[in-house]
Subunit: 389 residues, 2 copies
């Protein structure tokens, strides 16, 4: 079935797009957001969506509680982009180097936004205090807490360090907003009780740190936790003021492996066209390689390894055990999961499929826009996305 | 050592750049190109550089034998970009779907270029013949040959299929340019004799296919082989008219593992800034995570696993056994290679390092420009690069 054989509606459909490209199912995004909001509704917390996955103001507006935020970003380029689009309550969620203070201040001045920064050591606090005085600019500051030995942050029981950093910030011209942590280790879990345990440890760590600061008279009005897995499985948020999550909006095969959502809930997929066939082993070659999917193989160490992606038909129905088994830069090879008795679908040169990704953050980063659909194959919008630093 | 402590020259240096960013050492690019040219000089072949790694006209001009090519591309967006910049002899090196014929023709008409396409089945040949007549446009065609069961192409001894495709193209309005193959399996090798063997099998496969076409009176003026490993280790190119290679211009840790070049020859690196430290395990946290490096871990299955990258000082000197061991989206954790008795360098918040990548094609794709240096830390140019499809 070649392109000319496909009936098209008045508007654009999947067969009008150049491939490979990134499809985004808006109704699934909305459902994923609604599900997390419903889970958090019983708690007295704000949802601060992390925009590092979407990098799109159109997606951000679906996820944020107001057009001005709050929201989280992973680069200062995101901060600038979202601030320019009216998001005024931002946190830059990566520990900062002093060379970036002035960039943050410039974004704040230009767009009338606040871009809070993270610090976790005295060298940063000292450099910040000095810079702040010289620049005559006050930045909002969170102290990052390491709740699970995962990456960055002050150990929650390191009272001496917490007090020293807190005091240095509070004596400077800057504004200590509170404490923040990220339960990165939760990504390796996969059942509800264990995930609830990780969420509780995340909560305890950051509440302990906030209380340490309060005990010496420092304010910590914001107590922020967040990871997509813990946000979905938390059962207690006492003492927490906000919850952050990012990849939940789209979902991916890795998050499905964790148990956050089902594969059919995944909102993002790569549209690919059949460009060849191969016998022994039996493969369908498509024009989505690792450049379109990313080199992410996050599911490799999960119970179900989804190779480079799980193949769906154009309506989004999963073709069970049909995987993107191998990739080169612009070639993808579709085959059957090892051990499965299913057979490959009959897909001719020119036919198209959708491929669900391992990791939405990595796959979306390979593309400069979303082709937005809803139920059905009509394109209802094209949403640009940003990249870089 | 924070940024303010660094002496800067009159021009931009590494400490004036926003991090993470992509550094390109022009003199190393030139050396890598000169090395392959010298190896191929005794043979009567043309070097057709593959521009999928560089995606930059500035780099292309260093590698091509003339401003108009020849060259190879991996996407039609590259074809359009390079044609617009005067490269008129191009091959689109991925098997084509019929929906792309018109895009190729539009690039040819707009820029006065030739963008040859690859086909390997009768469905493509048939669709091409039909389209060509309707569009009144002749495309140049290569028949892709599968020399090592790697991915795409007609088996070189499948005489019936080769003849049928060749005859269908020659009866159409299109122009059969020749046969082309890519020794993809050579990437898994690592010694000179075995690589020379792979190169010889690649040569034999494509020469056999060319002779099969000639035996029934079809022209095959171009006989094209190419992969970075086989191009560097070939000892015999009888019957071959052109050699293609792409990643050789930059090199990477994977190609160093194959033996194509030494790690110190690698021309591309990611500049990163220290943003934190961690005890137990001992780590230096930098602002280059997998978004800046890509998720590529190609060296994982080689004799020397280089994790997410090998760390160098700002002069490009390799810090032996200092690796980017773990990455998150915007965090990288530098530590010591397992089993090594070396210790981490003393790098304070704000200091910078260069990180050599596993796979130049994947890492460069995460960035929208090259900050070009030479020996030394001065930035001598910024070269844009393209992405997408």
């Amino acid at each position: 079935m070649l392109r000319d054989d496909i009936a098209t509606s008045d508007g654009l459909t999947f067969y009008d797009l150049e491939t490979p490209c990134l499809l985004l199912d808006r109704s699934k995004v909305q459902s994923n957001i609604a599900r997390l909001r419903a889970h958090l509704a019983p708690f007295d917390v704000v949802l601060r969506p992390h925009l590092k996955t979407a990098k799109s103001i159109d997606v951000a507006r679906l996820a944020m509680t107001s057009p001005s935020g709050p929201a989280m970003v992973s680069t200062l380029k995101e901060a600038d982009y979202f601030a320019r689009n009216g998001v005024t309550d931002l946190i830059y969620g990566v520990g900062i180097s002093p060379a970036k203070f002035e960039t943050v201040a410039a974004i704040e001045r230009t767009h009338g936004a606040k871009v809070a920064i993270l610090i976790d050591c005295l060298a940063q606090a000292h450099a910040l205090a000095e810079w702040s005085q010289q620049a005559n600019h006050s930045l909002d500051v969170f102290i990052e807490i390491d709740c699970d030995g995962h990456r960055s942050g002050v150990a929650p029981d390191n009272r001496v360090m917490l007090e020293a950093i807190g005091q240095m910030v509070s004596r400077s011209a800057c504004n200590l907003r509170g404490v923040l942590t990220h339960a990165g280790e939760s990504y390796s879990l996969h059942d509800a009780d264990t995930l609830a345990g990780a969420a509780e440890r995340e909560r305890c760590a950051v509440v302990l740190a906030a209380n340490t600061l309060r005990a010496i008279g420092l304010q910590s009005p914001h107590v922020s936790i967040g990871s997509t897995p813990t946000a979905h499985f938390t059962r207690n948020l006492d003492g927490v003021t906000e919850v952050r999550a990012g990849v939940f909006m789209f979902g991916d095969l890795f998050q499905a492996g964790v148990g956050v959502l089902q594969p059919q809930d995944i909102a993002v997929s790569v549209l690919a066209t059949v460009i060849g066939h191969r016998q022994s082993p039996d493969r369908i070659i498509v024009d989505a390689g690792w450049m379109a999917m990313s080199r992410d193989r996050s599911t490799q160490n999960q119970a179900i390894d989804q190779a480079y992606g799980l193949v769906c038909d154009l309506d989004g129905a999963i073709l069970h055990d049909v995987l993107l088994l191998e990739t080169n830069q612009e070639h993808g090879s579709i085959g059957i999961r090892q051990g499965s008795h299913r057979t490959l679908p009959d897909l001719a040169i020119g036919q198209r499929v959708r491929i669900l990704p391992n990791h939405a953050c990595a796959t979306c980063a390979q593309h400069d826009s979303y082709q937005v659909c809803d139920a059905g194959q009509a394109i209802i919008a094209t949403w640009p996305r940003i990249s870089g630093w």
